[in-house]
Amino acid sequence: MHRTSVPLLWRRFKHHYRLLGNHCKTCKTDYYPPREICPTCRRKGVLEEKEFEKKGTIQTYSIIYAGPVGFDKQTPYAVALIKLDNGPVLVSQIVDAPFDQVKIGAKVTAVFRKIYEDGKEGIIHYGLKWKVV
């Protein structure tokens, strides 16, 4: 079962592996994932790549008991909105923590993990998940 466009995934490796987003020099807004154009400044926006520090805080979270295909063997797991210390808010999985440690306000740091596999013969997706520190 190949679900993903391999070239599309490949273009996103640096974003997924290293938390590489972008920054609008005009309105000073950070974006992750990176934007093609600044939605605020439009044609006046000047975007440049920006690698965000892999530290953040849980803004809110949910425990997933019925995961989508590809994540169904991982249940139950936590998904959180994470406010990066020097960047925007993103959504990601929280790993290696009992659920009583997954709290609003908890400090988290990124870890490199397998996100999902395109079946037994497809590509393996890697990227960042987060653990409570």
Binding site: K14, F112, I115, I124
Partner: protein, 368 residues
């Protein structure tokens, strides 16, 4: 038998090969399963198993961890200690017998994850449990001959053991990474010498597409592990002029505790000298990560100007033996990243059912 001599220096003492470790990093997954938990499933006596193998529990990867993720985590710790720009790394070798892909290198995943750029050579290597030390030799050779400034050598595994097989008590997950360089101001442990001993000895193998390895039972002992580890170590001593008592610490590959401690005894090394690196008791056999995690744990406690003997073993079969001499720089970098002990203590036990799910030992039938 074929003896291969690598990176040698013929002087007797205080050898300076001009190459060494400038950063080291370990990673051990958080989950553990106890030997008695596995023994209970198969109707065995857990105490017997623990005493026989000298393994109390083993590290189990998370469902989202594999050799690539372990390699990246260990490398990130090595970089914290080396404090170099990853783009100056000219070679990445990942040694493992559980690479995520049969065809596609783990090393390039690591390269992109650490932002090493593209100016590097890379390969995934395999030599059972010694592919990590082979990677160290490859990097040391490239650095010493000035082809590259820094080399990254990794040994990592998420080892497989068939349900009910003796390997199930030992086959564990973990890895270590080493950045090899030649600038004396950066070196934390000089590689004074290395020597290898190899032969075609089929003591343990896994055929293509086979899910679990096979092994020759007792044949893995005397003609395999014992012969190669002993011969490589003896060969190293003969060529360097060192005596076994010159070493402050020793690390041997740890397929189980019995083999490694037995080798120390055979060579006349007191257990205290292998104790710091004797991680097998608490995390199991991390295959390509085994002896080099022992080296990391030893570097975590060693003082400057101490000698460490390391001899790995890979089934099939071969051993790489090394002399490392620690430097003053070691004390400066040690606390820049988590120690092996930090990882060993940070643990969470899983049941056999959870372990079976994580390791893909369950058959889901049509409910995939």
């Amino acid at each position: 038998m074929n003896k291969v001599e690598l990176i040698m220096n013929n002087s007797k003492k205080a050898l300076d090969n001009g190459v060494g470790i400038i950063g080291y990093g370990a990673y051990i997954p958080k989950r553990r399963i106890k030997a008695e938990t596995i023994a209970e499933v198969w109707g065995k006596d857990g105490e017997d198993i623990k005493n026989g193998l000298m393994i109390e529990e083993k590290a189990v990867p998370g469902i989202d961890e594999d050799t690539a993720t372990i390699s990246v985590a260990a490398t990130q710790n090595a970089l914290l200690r080396a404090k170099i720009n990853p783009r100056e790394i000219g070679a990445i070798y990942v040694g493992s017998e559980s690479h995520p892909y049969a065809v596609k290198p783990t090393a390039t995943i690591v390269g992109d994850a650490i932002n090493a750029g593209h100016d590097y050579t890379a390969a995934s290597t395999e030599f059972a449990c010694k592919a990590g030390t082979a990677a160290i030799q490859m990097c040391a050779g490239l650095v010493k001959s000035n082809y590259i400034k820094y080399g990254l050598a990794i040994g990592a595994d998420t080892a497989q053991g068939a349900p009910g097989n003796a390997l199930e008590y030992s086959a564990a997950a973990g890895g270590a990474a080493f950045i090899i360089g030649s600038d004396k101001r950066e070196i934390v442990a000089q590689i004074e010498a290395t020597y290898s001993y190899s032969s075609d000895t089929p003591d343990f193998w896994r055929r293509s597409h086979a899910m679990y390895p096979s092994h020759g039972g007792r044949f893995t002992g005397e003609p395999a592990y014992v012969k190669h580890v002993f011969s490589a170590t003896q060969g190293l001593l003969e060529r360097t002029g060192y005596k076994i008592n010159d070493f402050d610490f020793a690390v041997f590959h740890m397929p189980n505790g019995k083999f490694a401690s037995g080798m120390a005894k055979k060579l006349g090394i007191p257990f205290e000298k292998i104790a710091p690196g004797f991680v097998v008791k608490r995390i199991g056999n991390t295959y390509s990560g085994s002896s080099i995690l022992g080296l990391c744990a030893t570097l975590d406690v060693a003082k400057p100007n101490q000698l460490i003997l390391l001899t790995s073993y890979g089934s099939g079969a071969g051993s790489d033996s090394f002399v490392f001499r620690t430097t003053d720089k070691l004390n400066e970098v040690r606390n820049a990243a988590p120690t092996v002990e930090d990882y060993i203590k940070d643990k969470e036990y899983v049941s056999y059912a959870q372990y079976a799910k994580i390791k893909g030992k369950l058959h889901y039938g049509g409910a995939q």
